[in-house]
């Protein structure tokens, strides 16, 4: 559905997007993840046909965004970061306007349907200037979906709205995956992890990692961490843990210990064995997941 090849965009001498390539298949929800200024918005603006790239190509549903721009633009629903509205229009009038402009066969009925979907039907005839921020965000989503495009591009869809509404928007995005290809950008990692089928981490204009959230975690997590709480005896726990082969580091944390294990090693059986023999009992032992958050900071840090 979306295919990006060697995309490059320069603002003056500053390279905003540097040789990015990725694909998104039908019904896939892909997250562009990166800090502010990483090139997420620029990539999206190229895909929506707002600005031309300096190099490379991008196609939406088979249409090149440069050579066949009008066709490609018709395949996309786009929600920019700051929801653009006409404050003096009614909710329904606004959505119907975009439906019509994008060539929807039945703009008024489709506007009604999409308003139902984003739960704004009761505000149908309200002037947009009187809507709350969360409602505007949903209105922006309605605008992007009204012509039922195969590809939906959402730039930071959950920014600046309250937590309850964040959950609603995320649910809505997840549902979109059933019949749309979704590309969304975010700098919130847990969001990408919850919502996306695939995550592309970009920093300073190029892709630093991509894959399924679980895959990324496996690939980037260098060693296993265990959290162990020993009972029975008071002292000597740390020494015991250090004596197990494969353990790289042990540090006390709360009631127990954080144990870092060499990549590929599995110390669990040995640990239980040794501990019991030494007269300890094991009250807790669990693997500690490196959160995407840490991974992300780690990657970005390595870049810098």
């Amino acid at each position: 559905m979306i295919e990006v090849k060697h995309l490059t965009k320069r603002y003056g001498t500053r390279l905003a997007v540097d040789n990015i390539s990725f694909k998104a298949g039908a019904g896939e929800i892909v997250g562009l993840l990166g800090p502010n200024g990483a090139g997420k918005t620029t990539t999206m603006r190229i895909l929506t046909g707002f600005m031309p790239p300096n190099g490379g190509s991008a196609t939406i549903a088979g249409f090149d965004v440069m050579r066949n721009s009008v066709k490609a633009r018709g395949q996309v629903g786009y929600l920019p970061e700051r929801v653009p509205v006409y404050p003096d229009m009614t909710v329904h009038g606004y959505v119907a306007f975009w439906a019509k402009l994008r060539g929807a066969p039945n703009p008024r009925a489709q506007a009604d349907q999409v308003l139902e979907r984003v739960q704004l039907s009761d505000r149908r005839n309200t002037l947009i200037r009187n809507l709350s921020k969360g409602m505007r965000q949903r209105l922006g989503l309605a605008q992007a979906l009204v012509h039922n495009p195969p590809v939906v591009i959402l730039d930071e869809p959950t920014i600046g709205i309250d937590p309850q509404q964040v959950i609603e928007v995320r649910d809505e995005v997840r549902k979109l995956g059933q019949d749309h290809t979704v590309l969304l950008s975010t700098h919130i990692l847990s969001e990408a992890e919850q919502v996306c089928d695939r995550v592309i981490i970009i920093n300073k204009g190029h892709i630093v990692a991509q894959g399924k959230p679980a895959e990324l975690r496996r690939k980037l997590q260098p060693e296993m961490h265990l959290y162990v709480v020993l009972g029975g005896k008071r002292d000597g726990g740390e020494k015991l843990l250090r004596s197990i082969s494969g353990v790289e580091a042990v540090e006390a944390s709360g009631e127990g210990f954080n144990v870092r294990v060499k990549k590929g090693a599995d110390i669990r059986t040995e640990l239980i064995d040794k501990a019991l023999r030494a007269g300890y009992n094991i009250q807790e032992m669990r693997p500690v997941m490196m959160t995407l958050e840490n991974m992300f900071l780690d990657i970005i840090g390595r870049e810098a």
Partner: protein, 241 residues
């Protein structure tokens, strides 16, 4: 030009839902109403009423009213961010600009049509020269279109509506006053060239007298086309920044 009709419709709608468009119409109608009565009063028993009194007034007033009608067109879209959505819709840049221009021109046409009621009132009480009136109205209709097109260029230049209106007014004033300058310049050829370039030069001695010259129609149509072309390029330039 895909999108032209949809944009036109929205633009017309937005004039009818904004207070300031009503205020402009109100101002134009009340001033022209007073002018009409004053002229009728002066003419009574002495001369036929002047059919071009209102178009002649508007030829000056459009310096201020045209920018007020057009300042919003693109400046607001840019500030609110809706321009980004317009430019990523399947509508062409030309369609967007032409649609907006036609919207503002249609609103101006409506105000103008309301003032034509004065001519119809005259039919009941005098024997007005209707052909003269129609020529003057046709002239001010084209003249107004040209002023709106100039105003639109400045709306595309800036995000600030007040700056847009001010700059457009200044340029229109120059185009208007050029005719006066032509009257005091000693070199007759230079004066003639100046006059040919100004808005008044193609209105005050032709349309306003009931004369319809092809060159005047071409002049106003030419201004509209050139200004729209510049506006389209300016809108397009948003893609390259």
């Amino acid at each position: 030009m895909p999108g032209v009709f949809t944009v036109f419709q929205r633009e017309i709608g937005s004039y009818f839902t904004s207070l300031y468009a009503y205020l402009i119409a109100f101002a134009i109608l009340i001033i022209t109403g007073i002018l009409f009565i004053t002229d009728l009063d002066n003419a009574a028993g002495q001369r036929p009423p002047d059919p071009s009194v209102i178009p002649t007034f508007l030829s000056f007033a459009m310096i201020f009213f045209a920018p007020l009608l057009t300042m919003r067109l693109l400046a607001e879209e840019k500030r609110e961010g809706t321009l980004e959505l317009l430019l990523t819709s399947p509508a062409s840049d030309t369609g967007i600009v032409v649609g907006k221009f036609l919207g503002s021109w249609a609103y101006f046409t409506l105000i103008l049509a309301i003032t034509f009621i004065y001519q119809i009132i005259l039919i009941g009480i005098a024997q007005p020269d209707l052909v003269h009136a129609i020529s003057a109205y046709l002239g001010i209709w084209l003249y107004g279109g040209a002023c709106l097109a100039v105003g639109m260029v400045f709306s595309a230049i800036t995000e600030n509506q007040i700056v847009a209106a001010f700059l457009a007014s200044a340029i229109l004033f120059l185009l208007w006053i050029g005719d006066r300058v032509g009257q005091v310049v000693t070199n007759i050829d230079f004066a003639r060239v100046l006059r040919e370039l100004t808005l008044q030069g193609h209105f005050s001695t032709s349309f306003a007298y009931g004369l319809l010259h092809a060159e005047d129609v071409v002049y106003f149509a030419g201004i509209i086309v050139v200004m729209l072309f510049i506006t389209i390029r300016l809108v397009e330039s948003n893609r390259w920044r």
